[in-house]
Symmetry: C2
């Protein structure tokens, strides 16, 4: 576009658009980055500058931008049905996608309920779990448990089970009461993984907290919601698989639904198709979005066991219907895209490639060791992170007013790299299509940024 | 598709899919209607049967299905950017759409915040209103008021301001407290409109209820949420414009945000671009979805005044950021579709056509007069409705166990007509592309259905 067009668009952006999760005054002097083209692993701004999309456009992109097969799938679907309602009516893309999701999901899940984004899919899971206990004669089970540092979305039900005070505390008077549980705390990392002692200690302590809660209160708890393996927005906190396995066991023993929010970690991001596979477990409810459509358009799904489904299945007059729905539920275009993405997973052996790149990413971690102030260097699958801390031994943080992560973000842009730190946590959340060569280039550039900011 | 394919798809549908707002046991013997093709005003099932989509696929479709211009807009956008994040980044379709929405919206709205569906856009409005009062030193304003019979979505915040007990009562323990206000009750209709006396009485009574509430409690009320002109899911309840105007006045006087949920009624459905125009008012927050993308894919927007926006605009350290966002916020594909739809509105003079068809629809209403048990025949724009009642004088309902609306639905399908009654309320919610000829055919078929079910 011309410089005049660019100026005009940025002017309108400032005049008319309120961006998500953004203090708009941060952009009083500076512009939002105007993206004109997205292709593969790259975004291009209006001046033709190229950036690595190392955060998969907010953790959604899978096969890279502009994949020709995805484009064709949309075009094909548009020839049949654009959007039709999904109550009383059904269509091929939604049916085939549901069938495929059940096929690839952890065994034991039977039904798929569609919605439009992670927040709504979380709300579906909470409401299903709540109503289930009403129907099976346990009406006292009306509460939920969640983990500190958890993030499950921004609608008020999802906020009620959110553990990041920065996002959630303001809305306290609008939230329902829920139990906040200690998450696994990992004190020491080696080669990107918790040391065995740190893992054991962190898991034991965190499971003990769950057990204590369930012993005293399982009678009133409908479900326990977790982000299996990685708490994402809370700071890319990687958990040992033993924790997820232990939670499953406790939920079963104390009759509490395990609700697995795999919105961020599903579809191969952690190295397995679903993060629950690391622990070899099946949740009672599984929540999917983001990567579901390869990151191209909104769609979400809440999967549940047949046992949960059957508690709602009765004559209409018994009033056990699950009265929930959104206009665009099961949108044919989004379902067609999701199906094509899953075909690509198979035909292009995406998970094999993910394993290769995950190993390569792990192999790059030692390059961060020589830097000062880099703590908790950790990795799982296509995800890697470290924290900028004053003291790596004690974990003492920098004063938040220094906004160190934010400065890394700004400097990285100059290096053609999109890093989107969470506070002072710097991370990669790589698309599956990343090549080894691109990975090396990304790490080179990251090191250059750290170097320039004085972390060597 | 072949009969075998159809059987297999319907088998998988029954095995794997949990449909929204559906008692799945209703489909134990009967299949969901498998739609294979959608074109213009018609849906075609797997056997090639054609149906009029008289409910615009759950109130979303605008220009008909499969509009070539919409298809082209998606294809064009896919060549530039599929999806990119919207925090720190921006792109042409989202900017141009925001600019256009502010241009056509009631005057005085300044900023656009995107999300994915009506529920999330309602949650955005509630959270913005709530946080606004925190920022301007009125922290006691933490509650919301809503109308009886209202429906604002299915996430728990939206359910908290929902007034349809069938959908909302189950979840009581998870909802925040809110004030339920009497809606206008219209006792008599003539030529599809309230009689002047009925309108005056209904409006006065309902405004008095708002006034009483505000007098006693405005100090603790952040916002009052309404569906302007038509309460849709609550039973296609049409309100006089004087009610909406009166609510605006009271909200201003008592310093309560007026939140207008135009998810269902926006974009021409009531005959004007936005329903608020009937009353000549501007709400503090305006919620849009459904018709925003011409009903093709998920997208929503919450518009607010600059005054609200400015209460959040400050140095980062003051912690006034609106921490809300969804991964697919401002999805470029959906924004491109919405822009193209608004271009069609202008170039094809859609609102002029809507006025013509609305008049023609009004002209058809007398055809329902000779039937027995048809009460409250009413109409606004492309929307018309009547209730099946035992006694049209007293309004006495049929026993709900008779499921009369449901029988109309089943019979109408045989007549090539998709009617989706709300309980015993039968209604049209016509796409803007409906022609006069199609309208007559739709009414002919509806009369045939009523005839066969013994209402003559």
């Amino acid at each position: 576009m011309t410089p005049a067009e660019k100026r005009e668009l940025l002017h309108k952006d400032r005049e008319r658009v309120w961006h998500p999760f953004t203090q708009m005054k941060d952009y009083a002097e500076r512009d939002h980055l105007l993206i004109e083209k997205a292709e593969g692993l790259y975004l291009y701004d209006a001046d033709g500058n190229r950036y690595y999309d190392t955060v998969s456009s907010w953790w959604v992109n899978v096969h890279g931008h502009g994949h020709p097969r995805i484009k064709q799938a949309i075009a094909r679907q548009l020839e049949d049905t654009d959007h039709i309602m999904f109550s009383g009516f059904t269509h091929r893309p939604a049916i085939e996608l549901a069938d495929k999701l059940i096929e690839i999901a952890p065994p034991g899940l039977g039904k798929v309920f569609y919605s439009d984004n992670g927040s709504t899919a979380v709300e579906v899971a909470l409401k299903m779990s709540f109503q289930y206990w009403q129907h099976v004669g346990r009406p006292g089970k009306t509460k939920f448990a969640f983990l500190e540092h958890s993030y499950h979305g921004d609608t008020l039900g999802a906020v009620s089970v959110g553990g990041v005070d920065l996002y959630h505390a303001t809305f306290r008077p609008l939230l329902f009461d829920a139990y906040r549980v200690t998450a696994p705390r990992i004190s020491r990392w080696e080669n990107g993984s918790p040391t065995p002692e740190a893992a054991e200690h962190g898991v034991a302590e965190a499971l003990e907290a769950v057990k204590r809660l369930f012993e005293s209160s399982a009678d009133e708890i409908a479900g326990f919601i977790i982000e299996p393996m990685v708490q994402a927005a809370g700071g890319i906190l990687i958990h040992p698989a033993a924790y997820v396995a232990g939670v499953r066991e406790l939920c079963t023993r104390y009759e509490v639904h395990l609700i697995a929010d795999e919105v961020a970690v599903g579809f191969g991001r952690t190295g397995t198709m679903f993060a629950c596979e690391h622990a070899g477990i099946t949740p009672d409810l599984l929540i999917l979005s983001k990567g579901l459509t390869a990151g191209i358009m909104p769609l979400a799904a809440t999967l549940c066991t047949d046992r949960i489904y059957e508690a709602f299945y009765d004559d209409y007059e018994t009033m056990k219907t699950f009265f929930h729905g959104h206009s665009f539920t099961g949108n044919p275009l989004a379902c067609a895209v999701a199906l094509e993405s899953l075909r690509l997973f198979e035909e292009e052996r995406v998970l094999e490639h993910v394993r290769t790149i995950s190993e390569a990413l792990r192999g790059q971690l030692p390059r961060f060791e020589p830097f000062r102030h880099l703590g908790n260097i950790r990795q799982l699958g296509m995800i890697a992170a470290f924290d900028l801390v004053q003291d790596t031994e004690t974990g003492k943080a920098f004063p938040s007013s220094e906004r160190r992560g934010y400065h890394v973000y700004l400097e990285a842009l100059k290096e053609g790299l999109i890093l989107r730190p969470l506070g002072d946590t710097i991370y990669y959340w790589l698309p599956h299509c990343t090549s080894e060569e691109q990975l090396h280039d990304i790490v080179d550039r990251t090191c250059a940024v750290l170097e320039r900011l004085g972390y060597r």
